[in-house]
């Protein structure tokens, strides 16, 4: 479904992605783990079209994405929950969900999807008229995910959804990620919390300073000595 081949990305002179290749197949949960500054967010931003690869290919369902602007990439079925949630804190919960459905015109379908989001995240329903900036961290993460689902993505990119959340909330969020996947959305999950990410993923890649260091079945990586030492605390 999504294929990256030898992708290089720069911030000015900084060479942030040094030729990464990875693949996400329809229906999978794939996780990209790695320590702070490895280039995980850069990878997702590049897939979403916020950054442009200087070299390499990104294709989605066989179509080249590397020259398509971000709004068209959303229209093609890729949606991102960015790092740090980035909800519109000045808008209400409902308005945030409306923004997620920005490119859609099917009013009744949008309504159905709002209900679907409220089923996944009942807390959001209780707070739908509340200004999003007043939500708790966990609720903001739920809103960011709900908002991203409103475009009905085929592929959902999640950038560190567990960041800054209490362990119980992290568990809840990961359960919901599995549920979203079970309902038919393919997932590319970026995490520093490698343990949780490997526990729900089918496959995984390890990113180290802009390069893919390892890749394979999630359970194999979870069992691997190197990964345990570097990312799972022994």
């Amino acid at each position: 479904m999504l294929v990256l081949e030898d992708v290089h990305v720069y911030y000015g002179a900084i060479h942030a992605l040094k030729g990464i290749s990875l693949q996400v197949n329809q229906g999978e949960i794939v996780t990209l783990i790695g320590s702070n500054g490895a280039g995980k967010s850069t990878s997702l931003k590049t897939i979403s079209g916020l950054l442009r690869p200087k070299q390499g290919k990104i294709s989605f369902n066989g179509e080249d994405l590397s020259k398509i602007p971000p709004q068209k990439i959303v229209a093609k079925g890729i949606s991102q929950v960015p790092e740090g949630r980035r909800i519109f804190a000045n808008m209400t919960v409902s308005e945030n969900l409306d923004m997620g459905a920005y490119l859609r015109k099917d009013k009744s379908g949008i309504k159905q999807d709002v209900e679907r989001v409220f089923e996944l995240f009942p807390r959001l329903k209780e707070r739908k008229s509340q200004v999003a900036g007043t939500l708790s961290g966990g609720e903001q993460q739920m809103l960011a995910m709900g908002r991203a689902l409103m475009s009905r993505p085929q592929l959902l990119l999640l950038d560190e959804p567990s960041m800054g959340l209490a362990p119980i909330l992290v568990k809840q969020i990961f359960t919901i990620i599995q549920e979203i996947n079970a309902q038919g959305t393919t997932i590319l999950l970026v995490e520093q919390n490698a343990h949780m990410a490997l526990s729900i993923a089918n496959r995984a890649y390890v990113l180290e300073t802009g390069k893919i260091a390892l890749g394979g079945q999630a359970q194999d990586l979870a069992a691997s000595e190197d990964v345990r030492k570097a990312y799972l605390g022994g």
């Binding site: 916020l50 971000p70 519109f88 808008m91």
Partner: protein
Amino acid sequence: MHSITELLQQLVYGLSLGSIYALIALGYTMVYGIVKLINFAHGDVMMVGAYMGWLAITVFHFPFFPAILFAMIVAAIAGIIIERAAYKPLRNATRIAALITAIGVSLFLEYGGMLVVGAQMRTYPNVFPETMYKIGGITFKFGDIVMLVTALVLMLLLHFTVQYTKIGKAMRASSFDMEAALLMGVNVNTTISATFAIGSALAAAAGVLYGIYFNSIDPLMGITPGLKAFVAAVLGGIGIIPGAMVGGLVLGVTESLVSGLGASTWRDAVAFLILILVLIIKPSGLFGKNLREKV
């Protein structure tokens, strides 16, 4: 000022003038909200609007409402062209580069305007009957009422657009977090164009009203009200729409009261005194808080 009646009379004048400042201030604040640029050419767009209204009334013999609409449409198009030609190429440049460009656009409009229409003042046609209404000793000129109502209706329309329409939501989202808006599928270029179009149209409406209020226009007429409207926008909190409306009205009323006290030579100084006070006491403006509604 000798009586309550006179005070109220000055208040009425002040509100008319203030609603003009408010209309201009809205453009400053909306553009700042979305591209973080103080568009110093904004006052000159108001001047362009005033001339378009003049053209529509004296040459095309349009009545007031079609004339103001004509001025607004032309200015909206001018606003879009200015953004595309002058500011868009600099979107990722330093702020100072964009600011200098804005000053360049301002000078271009002022002196380009002189080249086209001449440097001399022109009398603005009086489109309203000289009817006066007296209520409790306060005089309302027919024209003042129309102006105030026009300004208020435009502000309500703007509020509705920003709050409830798709483009309005895109404007709010983009000014809060442009990258997040891109991830929603918002076309940021279109949204920025729409912001310049709306801001310029409001300035043009203000230009027509200003021309009628002061009876004369010239190519440099935009400078002073432009600066004052900028002060109004800062007073309300730059980037905050309701702030610009309130800031404009407060400035207009203050100026008018100062004139009423017999200190009309101080009128223009008042605006800048207010600016200095705001910057010292509350730099984020009257409506500025941590979580702010920006466009």
